[in-house]
């Protein structure tokens, strides 16, 4: 049956700005950047984990009308487009300090939960990211 989950998709309003953020600030690497026709197939992954990629898809024609693309972008800006990425880290406090220093928009400071310590942030567009240091099970 199904063996592994390799790529998940996320809408971004602008792929170059997305690269500035995900590669420039969060430390992702570009694993694929190909123009085919009107679409730019752009995937990123964390160093050392290239088999688990995120497709940064720009909403627009011809896969959807201008009107629909505009609705998708508006949903992203409301944080309602479904873009969520969950990360793990060995040290949530240290990672939080580093990301804060890079000027990222932290939405929730680290809190000790039942399952570990986690904090939240948003990308420049409104997509939601979560970083957790999980307790050993």
């Amino acid at each position: 049956m199904l063996k592994s989950l390799t790529i998940t998709q996320m809408y971004v309003p602008d792929q170059d700005e997305a690269l500035d953020f995900y590669v420039g600030k969060l430390g992702f690497e570009v694993t694929n950047d190909m123009e085919f026709g009107p679409m730019r197939w752009l995937t990123i992954a964390l160093p050392g984990q290239h088999d688990r990629a995120v497709l940064l898809e720009q909403a627009g024609p011809p896969s959807m009308s201008d009107e629909t693309a505009s609705q998708v972008r508006e949903l992203i800006s409301k944080g309602a487009a479904g873009g969520h990425l969950f990360f793990q880290t060995d040290d949530a406090w240290k990672t939080h300090a580093e990301l804060k220093e890079r000027g990222l928009e932290i939405t929730e400071e680290p809190v000790d939960r039942g399952y570990g310590v986690d904090f939240g942030l948003r990308d420049p567009f409104g997509n939601h990211l979560r970083v957790a240091q999980m307790n050993p099970r």
């Binding site: 972008r73 508006e74 992203i76 800006s77 409301k78 929730e108 809190v111 409104g126």
Partner: protein, 137 residues
């Protein structure tokens, strides 16, 4: 036209994130409007257009949601929880809680602990969405 809406949404989302993060503080409309870079009247109007309710309602339900969480996850007193989530009077807290949840805090508490869902999703999904009053308010 649409870009302006996206930028406005993004700023409103920043104000909403501030309520999710700092609900325990005495947040008021001037503070939130500053986060969203607009006048108070414009903030209230556009927030409601974007998220379906006024910022005050959003904040009040966030506080109730956090109280619901603390009632079921801790053994802190009702008075303590009331203050911890940002209400300044036990009378107001009890009335609002009852209006929103349909039962008093002490009764609600008997439902027992919540499952360990990631806190960001618990907060997004468990915030009561019906306020028991005219929907236009």
């Amino acid at each position: 036209m649409s870009r302006a809406v996206e930028e406005s949404n993004r700023r409103l989302l920043r104000a909403r994130d501030a309520m999710d993060r700092a609900y325990a503080e005495p947040l008021d409309i001037p503070t939130l409007a500053r986060i969203a870079y607009c006048s108070e009247a414009h903030f209230i109007r556009t927030f409601r257009a974007a998220f379906g309710e006024t910022p005050n309602r959003y904040l009040q339900r966030r506080r109730v949601e956090r109280a619901m969480f603390l009632l079921r996850s801790t053994d802190r007193s009702v008075t303590d929880i009331c203050m911890a989530v940002g209400f300044s009077s036990l009378g107001t807290f009890s009335r609002v809680f009852r209006d929103v949840v349909g039962e008093p805090p002490s009764v609600y508490r008997r439902r027992g602990p919540l499952p360990p869902v990631p806190s960001c999703f618990a907060m997004a999904w468990l915030r009561p969405s019906s306020f028991g009053e005219a929907p236009g308010e």
